[in-house]
């Protein structure tokens, strides 16, 4: 029932959901890195113990330890001993930025573009369905959440994520909502990277406004189009950024 009390209750469930397959330590490391970069795990937040983390990911304790070591090497986590000890997130802006830049460089253009294509087809379908199924009450609530200009990257990312999740919920499809959540966990750190720039925080706000206006008009095609255009714009920016990172001249 308590919908929306804490977006990261479900995001948190996704963060620590069990992993399978090979290279588990890398997967644990990747999941935690994403969560830190996204601000789902905040600077200074205490991580679960190695044993607890191993249990939640469904991996061996030694695997969780290995992942934590890798995060320590990247400078994203600090482990302190003693009574108030434990592993704490130490991600400053510069550190998360360099982690993300490295990831942008490591992925090919075709992978990044495909990520945008798949995400926009899910998010666009959610928006189109929502246009037929939204009530005035729903709109008022989502406007209250979505139509705010953030002056901070983490807050802007979180707002964009919550907005997309709310629109997915308005589609009335439980499967689409689950897929949206899964895709956010997988893609969100890169997809909405442009929110680090104030100019694009404004662009995203304009896009959310346009999508909500289309929902209010009950215009499914316009709602889909605004959503797809928004995602495509963010991917175009990402590819330009990749070019700049690879060829600073």
């Amino acid at each position: 029932m308590p919908q929306s009390i804490r977006a990261s209750t479900s995001a948190g469930a996704v963060v620590f959901a069990p992993l399978d397959g090979a290279g588990r330590a890398e997967l644990v490391e990747r999941r935690l890195t994403d969560a830190i970069v996204l601000g789902l795990l905040a600077d200074g937040e205490r991580l679960p113990s190695e044993t607890e983390m191993a249990k939640r990911f469904g991996v061996a304790t030694v695997t969780a330890r290995e992942a934590l070591e890798a995060l320590r090497d990247k400078g994203l986590v600090d482990t302190r001993r003693g009574r108030d000890g434990g592993s704490f997130v130490t991600a400053g802006r510069d550190k998360t930025r360099s982690v993300l830049d490295a990831r942008v460089r490591s992925l090919s253009r075709v992978e990044l573009r495909d990520m945008g294509t798949y995400y926009s087809s899910i998010a666009g379908s959610c928006a189109a369905l929502a246009a037929d199924r939204v009530t005035d009450d729903d709109l008022e609530r989502v406007r209250g959440i979505a139509l705010v200009l953030d002056d901070d990257e983490t807050a802007a990312r979180r707002r964009q994520g919550v907005f997309q999740l709310e629109v997915a919920a308005l589609s009335q499809s439980a499967r689409l909502v689950r897929e949206e959540l899964r895709l956010q966990a997988e893609f969100a750190p890169l997809l909405w990277l442009w929110l680090r720039e104030p100019e694009y925080r404004q662009r995203s706000l304009d896009a959310r406004t346009a999508a909500l206006d289309a929902l209010a008009d009950g215009d499914a095609e316009s709602a889909r189009e605004h959503t797809v255009t928004h995602v495509t714009g963010a991917i175009d920016w990402l590819l330009d950024t990749k070019t700049r990172l690879e060829d600073p001249a």
Binding site: M1, P2, Q3, T135, D137, A174, L181
Partner: protein, 240 residues
């Protein structure tokens, strides 16, 4: 439009009994909570212990329709927990459960720190807002509850009071799947094209499979149908 037929009324009786049974559970919990807070100094541990003893037996019952239940406090009512949810998830509730393990009855983990960046005010949500405004029982949904059931859900809530002041809402969640199984025969039993809708016109169950659950029959279009009111804000829309 025409007066309801006897088959319409048979359907409404089944709908009202189904949700009435859920609300009578909730009302029982509400009374116990109101008695408790009238005589006891309130703290989070005490409220949690009470709510657990109230809702867990009903959530554990074989064939129980409810898949989540509890008490959500008025902000500031519980001195040591300004924002507080005492909410339990039943065995049938698969939220957050992955892999082959069968889900166990468990407490919903919610972060209640209003300074956390991801915190959001639950008093703006329909299942709180409507009963708080009207003082009445309310059914929210169908809606995709992505934080608590991960599925298509109906939430029944009612307010609880102390000395005339609202102290929170008491409620329970149902899966729309289960409600469809329970109520579809009754809606079909009208022998007409019929749909059970919530107060906004959102379809809960329809006789006609082309009318998707969750789609809207907007209130402006209700006079095209025979509107037979049900309890708790629901209505049966029947076509002759």
């Amino acid at each position: 439009m025409n007066a309801p037929t006897s088959t319409d009324l048979d359907c409404v009786a089944i709908v009202d009994t189904t949700f009435g049974d859920v609300f009578s559970l909730i009302d029982g919990w509400r009374q116990r909570i109101e008695q408790y807070v009238a005589t006891t100094a309130v703290d989070a541990a005490g409220i949690d212990a009470l709510v657990e003893t109230l809702v867990v037996p009903d959530l554990s019952r074989d064939g129980a329709l409810i898949i989540g239940a509890g008490f959500v406090a008025q902000p500031g009512f519980i001195p040591d927990a300004p924002w507080h949810l005492a909410w339990w998830l039943g065995h049938a509730n698969t939220f957050g459960v992955t892999g082959p393990a069968a889900p166990a009855l468990r407490r919903l983990v919610a972060v209640e720190d209003e300074h956390s960046e991801s915190f959001r005010d639950y008093t703006t949500l329909e299942w709180w807002r409507v009963p708080a405004a009207t003082g009445e029982r309310h059914i929210t949904g169908p809606y995709v509850d992505y934080l608590c059931t991960d599925d298509y859900t109906l939430t029944s809530t009612m307010p609880a009071f102390r000395d005339g002041e609202m102290i929170g809402v008491v409620g329970a969640d149902l899966y729309v799947n289960d409600i469809e199984r329970t109520l579809l025969p009754a809606v079909r039993g009208t022998g007409r094209r019929a749909a059970l809708v919530n107060a906004s016109g959102r379809v809960v169950v329809a006789s006609d499979s082309s009318r998707a659950t969750g789609s809207l029959i907007r209130r402006g279009a209700w006079d095209e149908h025979r509107v037979v009111p049900c309890a708790n804000g629901l209505a049966l829309l029947v076509d002759d």
